[in-house]
Amino acid sequence: MGFLFGEYDVAVIGAGHAGIEAALASARLGCATVIFTINLDSIGNMPCNPSIGGTAKGHLVREIDALGGEMGLAADANLLQSRMLNRGKGPAVHSLRAQIDRRQYAIYMKHRLETTKNLDIQQAEVVRIERFGEKWRLITHLETEFIVKAVIIATGTYLNGRIYIGDISYDSGPDGMFAARSLTNSLRELGVTIRRFKTGTPARALRSSIDFSKMEPQPGEDPIVPFSFETNEELENKVDCHITWTTEKTKEIIYKNLSRSPMYGGKVKWIGTRYCPSIEDKFVRFADKERHQVFIEPCGLRTEEMYLQGLSTSLPVDVQVEFLRTIPGLENVKIMRPAYAIEYDCCDPLQLSATLEFMDVPGLYGAGQFNGSSGYEEAAAQGIVAGINAALKILGKPPMILDRASSYIGTLVDDLVTKGCTDPYRMMTSRSEYRLILRQDNADERLTPIGREVGLVDDERWENFCRRQEAKKQERKRLKSTILPPSEELNRILVSCETSPVKTGVRLEDLLKRPQLDYEKLAPVDTGRPELDPLVKEQIEVEIKYEGYIKRQQAAIDEMRRLENKLLPEDIDYSQIKGLRIEAKEKLSKIRPRNLGQASRISGVSPADLSVLIVWLSSNNIISED
């Protein structure tokens, strides 16, 4: 018997981006929570790029924030530079991305955990989890024991982590941390299917060894749109990033040394990560592309480490030095941390339900890279979902299931638990069929009411939200009822914006519908305009301008929800349903969809199988609608 160190409602194993959101959500909902990490100084670490957001990932951060999560606030508080990507490509795909002071971010998050009620932090490696009656017993490497009601696994790349650099490989977590080498066995005993994924990171180099005059600077954009709906202070851009390109010579060196990469040398069998490929992958898979872009990103204000985005590799250090020096501006580069590839254990997310609980192991949840995803934002999104649901279950409340039309978070979870993944899953705007509705500007509208109902949105956030909604309602009314006369000034504006002048009075709303016009351009003639939150302005403008397209998407959502509302009982024996093809039987039995909508998205379940299912269900009178 070890030493019983504590009893909690929820234990979170791992304090990366998934673990943090899970622990905070659970503690904030009133559950006694403990979070484990192998090293307290690695809480909230960014072992890869020093940035948060990006296409679709920026949406995830806004959504986490709208639900009452922490990532957006932390990113705003430690921001070095911000850009709104895809500005010219339309409101659906506007995405925030910010460079973050990496160490400061980690310190912020550690402090946030330390100061959160109901939350304890433990530096320890959990080596075993086992059933303890209705509860769980966790045993650490120090032979301390914890009894808890629910466990959330958020181990990132630590679980049996192994680093590869050329011929050299060794057991390790990210950034020189110890790997967690024992937990996998007890997960296997519980019936969790363990898989092996791989990812990688580029080298960090010393700022003074880089010649920025040979690169193109990439400054931030003003004014900065914050991630969090609750960030009110003005944020400022403090640093520039820089862009350079690989050369013909880079390609040559990489080709020459391919056999020294663990994967191309045949030492390991990796499925190359499609969404963050190594530089050798890029040159091999896109052989006709002459050069690849490289971004030089600062890691913080009080460090000279620079992140070389786009140059992830598992080639040996001597090759790394050789090829880096072929890149303009990096001729004399000094590497501080070499690039590496890391291999780690993860689960098969098809074993999870939409609450991120293992279907066959009640009380056990997974989040983040452990579930097969990639990226800080994807991890945090799952963390908050797992944390909320673990807590709700303990509190005896119904689960929070976000459907695909509600959010990118819902899309991410649905993709993982319905379609699964064979390499690390990255969020992209093209993964959502409802892009024009799931915008970053309206994340609060979509999710803050849900966060409030769950109990994660505090009074202040809720009041701010309600105020914005009211202002929006009033302004919509004003735009509808305000008619501008066909004044000379108005027509001068219209003509200068290359849209047709008016002969009669015209509603403000109808003017805003024109793609060529916006709030700013109409300011001189719109004299009765009240002071408006820029966020409210943005939401209104998009809603008016894209009304037709938004309606189109809403119709698709209504159609989807009809199938989604046809629930499937949990105990269906699919093997007994005649007419289902064998592949469909296997997939349905494994994934156990909640409803016909989810069933229809399983690859290997054809529309014919779906028809069979409907016939079978209706003939057995067990189709239920909620």
């Binding site: 296409t55 679709a56 990507l85 895809n86 010219g88 490509k89 339309g90 409101p91 659906a92 795909v93 995405s95 872009q293 971004f295 992209m428 705007t429 093209s430 069929e433 892009r435 024009l436 793609p515 060529q516 894209y546 037709g548 397209y549 189109r552 998407q553 698709a556 159609e559 009809r562 199938l563 005649k578 007419g579 093809r581 229809s600 054809s606 529309p607 014919a608 199988d609 779906l610 028809s611 069979v612 409907i614 016939v615 209706s618 003939s619």
Partner: protein, 455 residues
């Protein structure tokens, strides 16, 4: 467990051979209760799939007919279930007696389309394939049967697929451009995108146009035969119908009500209406007939205006020519055997399609067939080009076309690319619905409607 269904699968008409098909888990057992192999050592239930036994069918009263029994074992059969096909002699009485014997032995009558429904449910045919079979069953004409076959073999699928590939390419381009803003992916020129969409639009438009012509092949076209009294409308009708349908007398005004008949002329099915002769009259009954004829003329999709070639045109003829030539019409100059006295120049000035024939002798009927084929667009249909075959398919293509047009509209009005993107996504969805690769509730409902399953 699926019930054994049985039906006579060949036409219910005298023929050399007739086939009774049984399908279901116990189909082979049921068949073995009404089939006696010639060789006493053989048993139908022992037979492997794809093999045949010679013998006799029998019922309680004794042997019915000489027969070859063909066994297919699940899943290698048309329906995906165990299937037995009994090839008997074609006499209707014997076939029906055999079928009754099958019912007595445990089979139940198959609902219309039920074999196909089972094939679909068992994943043996896809949605377009199943629909094509349904059309094949009800196909009247030769070309209809051929195009139904083409759809079954995936011609329509291939066509849709190529449009789909184009749209998917456009969507993928947009996604890459949007999702990887840092990866110096070349900016997508709206013009290039529009070009891709324009191609898709043209293809879709063609499919819809051809559907409308295809419908004529499959379902027929409302056709009216009009003309002043006694120009030989009824004689023409009878010639086309191949037997006496309208009462023909030399007395003008004999046909007072509308006589209808569905006939096949070449590849086209005409839903023909013979009408009362158009003239001013005081006869009450005839007046009603004339009135109806005029109404019919207005609604018809195809007008066959008949003139007496052996006489000069009178006022009634000219009034008719004015009216008919405003619609899709063919001028028939009848009584060619009696010499032409008609003002041909005038007719030519009014009608694009003119046929000179003798309804009496049948001379010139081929010319009418050609004209009908041309005027309905059927002559432009080749046997091999794919054809949409149902309203459901047409609806999907129309939905897709609308979305493609809206995408182009968004580009034209310089909306941002995300708006264009959602329209392209919708266009893709519509086509996936057509091919049955995506199940929406609408599709599933449609399946039920068509196959009457559920209860």
């Amino acid at each position: 467990m699926s019930k054994v269904i049985a039906a006579i699968s060949t036409a219910m008409a005298p023929a050399g051979l007739g086939v009774i098909r049984l399908s279901g888990d116990n189909a082979i057992e049921v068949a073995s209760r009404i089939f006696r192999p010639a060789s006493k050592s053989r048993r139908l239930t022992d037979l492997p799939g794809y093999s045949a036994l010679y013998g006799w069918t029998f019922d309680a009263e004794g042997d019915i007919d000489e027969c070859v029994a063909l066994v297919f074992r699940a899943p290698h059969s048309y329906t995906g279930e165990n299937v037995v096909e009994l090839s008997c002699h074609g006499g209707l009485y014997l076939l029906q007696r055999t079928l009754r014997a099958a019912f007595a032995a445990g089979a139940v009558p198959a609902e219309p389309g039920e074999f196909t429904k089972r094939a679909f449910v068992n994943g043996k045919v896809d949605l377009t394939g199943a629909e094509a079979v349904m059309d094949l069953i009800s196909a009247n004409g030769r070309l209809a049967a051929k195009t139904a076959l083409a759809a079954r073999e995936g011609a329509i699928y291939k066509k849709i697929r190529s449009v789909l590939d184009g749209l998917t390419y456009a969507a993928a381009n947009l996604s890459a451009f949007v999702d990887y803003p840092d990866d110096d992916i070349p900016e997508l020129e709206p013009e290039a995108l529009d070009e891709m969409l324009k191609n898709a639009e043209a293809e879709l438009k063609k499919l819809i146009d051809r559907f409308d012509a295809g419908k004529v092949v499959r379902e027929g076209i409302d056709t009216v035969i009009v003309g002043r009294p006694n120009v030989g409308k009824s004689t023409l009708m009878n010639l086309l119908a191949g037997h006496e349908r309208s009462i023909v007398t030399p007395i003008a005004g004999t046909t007072r009500d509308i006589v209808e008949e569905t006939i096949r002329l070449g590849d086209v099915i005409l839903r023909l209406a013979d009408t009362a002769g158009l003239r001013s009259t005081d006869d009450q009954v005839e007046m009603i007939g004339v009135q109806r004829a005029k109404e019919r003329l207005e609604r018809a999709a195809l007008v066959i205006a008949v003139f007496d070639g052996s006489e000069p045109l009178n006022d009634d003829d000219i009034e008719l020519a004015e009216k008919a030539s405003r619609q899709t019409s063919i001028a028939v100059i009848n009584k060619s055997d009696k010499g032409l006295k008609i003002d041909y120049k005038y007719i030519e000035s009014k009608f694009k399609h003119i046929v000179i024939l003798s309804a009496e002798t049948g001379e010139g009927i081929e010319a009418l067939e050609r004209a009908v084929s041309e005027v309905t667009g059927v002559s432009a249909l080749s046997d091999t080009e794919p054809l949409l075959s149902t309203e459901r398919q047409r609806l999907c293509v129309v939905k897709c076309l609308d979305a493609v047009r809206e995408a182009r509209g968004a580009i034209e009005q310089s909306y941002t690319l995300d708006a264009v993107g959602v329209c392209i996504d919708d266009a893709i969805e519509a086509l996936l619905e057509l091919t049955g690769e995506r199940a929406t509730e609408a599709v599933v409902n449609k399946i039920f409607e068509r196959f009457c399953v559920g209860k």
